[in-house]
């Protein structure tokens, strides 16, 4: 029988009149890397904070390696390395002081040589005071503290927030290495590329309910892309609009912005007939994908397969 790292059933949580979670059901197998996706305010952070007993759900049940966080939060926290989405650290302390404090809270079971290795890989100066650190460096401290005890479960809320692309890659490598060492990783994000890079499975939350669980590839297939094409001269774009999945968003003189759902092949072939001087492509945010997706289906509980 598979060991479950996380089992969440029927989780609900309200803040006053606002229903943040409306019945979250979720399972994460031990050793998996699962991305937790959703637009802002969807309930990602609330779910993660319930797992750690930082906030108490109104109903539903949670098991972290079989332990109920409300019954034994200390036992749960011993298993977990947590990286908060909204990071705040004691401003007058150095990174080393803060990490030593967290190490003491874990009973001094942290290998300090490993801490130095992590800091070195993330190019983090442990002697810097937090108040003198950039947002990215503070995020590195948070990454180190989450990983340093080599916990069996990593709960990471937007782990690469504020990091430059090189450091993001390093964090992805560290997460992969943690998984290789036996850890389960459950991380929230609203960056599709991040999820594609490291997640084996994705759970999508919207308005406090899990609307889909899927492989990242399935998500990519619903991802619409936006292209801005600069032509050498003004052109007639109607033939482009006829390409399946292509929508013309705007045309300004010789610059045309189009949105493409699904494969790019048809559009690229159609563009070959035009004098193109420049081409820019961008992936829309998850919110935009959700928006276009819901607009397209008009469905409250969409299935990814239907959108492909």
């Amino acid at each position: 029988m598979e060991t479950m790292a996380l089992v969440v059933e029927g989780l609900t949580k309200s803040y006053g009149d606002v229903r943040a979670l409306r019945g979250v059901d979720l399972e994460v197998r031990a050793g998996e890397i699962v991305g937790f996706l959703g637009p802002n305010g969807a309930g990602k952070t609330t779910t993660i904070r319930c797992l750690l007993d930082l906030i108490r759900p109104d109903s539903g049940s949670i098991r972290v390696f079989g332990i109920d966080p409300q019954a034994d939060p200390v036992a749960v926290c011993q298993q977990v390395g947590y990286l908060p989405g909204e990071l705040a650290l004691e401003p007058n302390q150095t990174a080393a002081e803060i990490l030593r404090y967290f190490s003491r809270l874990r009973g001094n079971r942290v290998d300090w040589a490993f801490v130095r290795t992590l800091a070195h890989r993330l190019e983090l100066d442990l002697n810097l005071t937090i108040k003198n650190m950039s947002k990215g460096n503070k995020q590195k401290v948070a990454v180190v503290q989450a990983l340093m005890a080599r916990p069996p479960l990593l709960l990471l809320d937007e782990p690469t927030s504020g990091l430059d692309p090189l450091m993001q890659q390093e964090v992805y490598r560290l997460i992969k290495e943690a998984q290789a060492g036996g850890a389960t990783v459950f991380f929230s994000s609203h960056i599709i590329a991040e999820v594609e890079t490291i997640a084996e499975r994705v759970a999508i939350i919207r308005q406090g309910v899990i609307v889909e669980e899927a492989e990242p590839e399935a998500l990519v297939n619903i991802a619409v892309r936006r292209l801005r094409v600069r032509f050498q001269e003004p052109v007639e774009v109607q033939p482009l609009a006829a390409v399946p999945g292509v929508t013309i968003l705007s045309q300004d003189d010789s610059v045309v912005t189009v949105q493409v759902a699904g494969e790019m092949d048809g559009l690229v072939k159609a563009l070959a007939a035009y004098p193109v001087s420049d081409l820019e492509t961008e992936r829309p945010s998850l919110e935009e994908i959700f928006l276009s997706y819901y607009e397209a289906t008009g469905d409250e509980q969409p299935q990814i397969e239907e959108a492909v």
Binding site: G16, C77, V80, P84, L105, G107
Partner: protein, 283 residues
């Protein structure tokens, strides 16, 4: 728990040093003046006699000013409850709610430390910080003995115990308020304001006996001040400590049940109309 106690005490070290030096220097100065003030004898009595009786009554034990107990009470212990009370209120109100507002509590509680351990470790650190400030203060008064104050070091230590008890009362009240009110600063301010109001009430009750029953319901009604040099009123001391413990237990219970915020102060929850409630539930 020990790690958390030491950590929090270390975070309070700036305040311990700052308050300790300030209060200590003041104590040293007043210790230096003791011989000169009490040496005034008849002149001092004449000076006091020239004051309006209501004013003398407001300040209580002024007529005993030429004794160690009266001097300590008038120039130090009567209003140290207000002054060091500010430290007690701010340190206690900030120990949980303050960290929560700054967003740093979230990550700490995601580590293997129970809320109970964190709460009591930090409260003990606040108590230790207050005790250390008072210890520095006591040390600063010790030179008064060779400078002419006829008192032993142990007798000099006695009035610091009721002072500590009142500070714990203020601190635990601020702590409890910080877990009830939306802002830790508001909680500290209210607790400090309460002790200032209580100080004024003591003075007014000295002038008007009808206020004495009201004073009996306040912490300073059970505060000996400098007169504790002559012997401790244990029932008063234990009453203050008992109520402080009750406040602390209530605060602990509230902390146990509380959702930890990511940061920021709470807001007062205002009643909403049905339409606004429906709109909110859709967000």
């Amino acid at each position: 728990m020990w790690a958390e106690f030491l950590y929090h005490l270390r975070r309070l070290r700036g305040r311990i040093i700052g308050w300790g030096i300030g209060i200590g220097l003041y104590g040293l100065m007043m210790a230096w003046f003791y011989d000169a003030v009490t040496g005034m004898g008849a002149e001092l009595e004449a000076l006091l006699a020239s004051y309006p009786q209501e004013m003398l009554a407001f300040f209580g034990n002024v007529q005993l000013m030429n004794t160690p107990a009266g001097y300590l009470d008038t120039y130090y212990f009567s209003y140290m409850t207000m002054i060091v009370g500010i430290l007690a209120a701010s340190a206690a109100a900030g120990m949980v709610a303050g960290d929560e507002e700054r967003g740093v509590l979230d990550l700490v509680l995601a580590h293997p430390i129970s809320r109970t351990a964190l709460f009591w470790a930090r409260l003990l650190a606040v108590v230790a910080a207050l005790a250390l400030v008072l210890l520095i203060s006591w040390l600063s008064w010790l030179p008064a003995i060779p400078w002419g104050m006829e008192i032993t070091a142990l007798e000099l230590l006695r009035p610091f115990l009721p002072l500590l008890a009142v500070l714990l009362f203020i601190g635990t009240l601020a702590l409890l308020l910080s877990l009830v009110l939306p802002s830790s600063r508001l909680a500290a301010t209210l607790a400090a304001a309460a002790i200032v109001a209580n100080f004024l009430l003591v003075g007014l009750a000295n002038m008007n006996d009808d206020l004495q029953p009201v004073l009996d319901w306040t912490p300073l009604g059970y505060y000996q001040g400098g007169l504790a040099v002559n012997g401790l009123e244990w029932s008063w001391l234990l009453s203050l400590l008992g109520v402080s413990l009750l406040f602390a237990l209530l605060a602990w219970l509230l902390f146990q049940r509380r959702d930890i915020r990511v940061g920021g102060e709470r807001s007062w929850r205002m009643p909403r109309s049905g339409r606004r409630r429906e709109a909110a539930s859709e967000t």
